[in-house]
């Protein structure tokens, strides 16, 4: 724990604000976990953190420092921005994983860019093939939708079923991420290295699945809208 830059009292909870004198501190070098006075971990008590987020938001609010010194005002602006970023990232389970892996020094997502891919970053070929084929179907659906026609009912049924399958897959990936996260939280260095590697693979795989789920949802929504607009309901009901 550090000490308050103003009153020198030791800091508890969040290093952003001194509980003793209320001075907002410099944000330099504070990570998103530290913002909330937490150790780095994949598991997070989001209810408690949300409560802490609201409490800190009030305490750090720039309005409270409007008549403070220049340093106070700057610190409060910076601290508020950091607090918002921290909450936005940590509340999202996937963004949290990516963030924690990154600050632990792992290359995640974009940071691999251009470095060439290792073989283990390749998804299973059958997943790739399936994603590609479904994208072809989705494109056909979008094309007919753009022309103001509803896509074939059978095609829609097929794609909706695929969407369900991929949503289930997404759920599996997320559960696996959580399990690896728990291993990391409880493990020694070797366990952590292994869990991190696993999580990076899972995240890679997740992006293909996530895109497909997103695109299927969009197509299904567009179809429903179109049927409402053009009276395709009749077709749907006569099935």
């Amino acid at each position: 724990m550090s000490n308050c830059a103003r009153c020198q009292q030791p800091m508890h909870d969040s290093p952003l604000i001194c509980a003793a004198c209320g001075a907002v501190q410099s944000v330099a070098g504070i990570d998103y976990f530290q913002v909330f006075g937490l150790k780095r971990a994949f598991a997070l008590d989001t209810v408690a953190v949300e409560r802490e987020f609201h409490r800190l938001s009030r305490r750090l609010h720039p309005d409270r420092f409007a008549r403070g010194s220049e340093t106070d005002r700057q610190n409060s602006l910076a601290a508020t921005a950091l607090l918002n970023d921290a909450w936005r990232v940590l509340r999202d389970p996937v963004e949290r994983v990516e963030y924690l892996l990154k600050i632990e020094g792992h290359a995640v997502g974009e940071e691999h860019a251009g470095k060439g891919k290792s073989a283990e970053r390749e998804p299973p070929p059958d997943l790739l093939e399936e994603v590609f084929d479904l994208n072809m179907q989705l494109e056909e659906i979008r094309m007919s939708q753009r022309m103001g026609e509803s896509a074939e009912a059978s095609t829609m049924t097929e794609i909706a079923a695929a969407g369900k399958r991929f949503e289930a897959m997404l759920g599996e990936v997320d559960a696996a991420l959580q399990a690896e996260g728990a291993k990391w939280d409880a493990g020694d260095a070797a366990t952590r290295a292994q869990a991190a590697k696993k999580m990076i693979e899972l995240l890679d795989r997740r992006r293909y699945v996530r895109n497909l789920v997103r695109d299927v949802r969009a197509a299904v929504t567009a179809q429903a809208l179109q049927q409402e607009l053009y009276g395709g309901n009749f077709v749907a009901e006569s099935l």
Partner: protein, 137 residues
């Protein structure tokens, strides 16, 4: 982030979008994905068995504008080249030609991967050893 004129041009008028017959002996198919974003790309080549010249190339990309432009450009570049020549295309060439920003470099990597995968598939089909192409350099 603004796309360069060349990216916009390829994006609006992609060259060689389409499909070649996957089962043909002369066709190599490369299907690749970018784990960074989950985009997928298929690039196909038709190789003249006598000359080993790539006479036709088609692509289909489900991804960002830079990936579409990179694969469009890749098909233009491989056409008329021999298989060995096509293997020398580097993603950095694509980056330069399209003026891709750093966050879009992986899109060009995807195109290079696709060329390699297509050629690899064609070689496998035709029993060409990997070493032969290396020796041809």
């Amino acid at each position: 982030m603004a796309y360069s004129d060349k990216v916009v041009d390829h994006y609006n008028n992609p060259r060689n979008v389409g499909t070649l017959d996957k089962s043909s002996e002369e066709v190599g198919t490369g299907l690749v994905g970018a784990p960074e974003c989950g985009d997928v790309m298929r690039l196909q080549i038709r190789v003249n068995p006598e000359t080993q010249v790539i006479e036709e190339a088609k692509f289909k990309t489900f991804g960002c504008g830079s990936a579409i432009a990179s694969s469009s450009l890749a098909t233009e570049w491989v056409k008329g080249k021999t298989v060995a020549e096509a293997l020398e295309i580097r993603n950095t060439d694509i980056v330069k030609e399209l003026a891709l920003p750093p966050v879009k470099i992986h899109c060009s990597v995807l195109a290079e991967d696709a060329i390699r995968a297509a050629i690899g598939d064609w070689k496998k089909k035709n029993g060409v050893a990997e070493t032969e192409a290396v020796a041809a350099h």
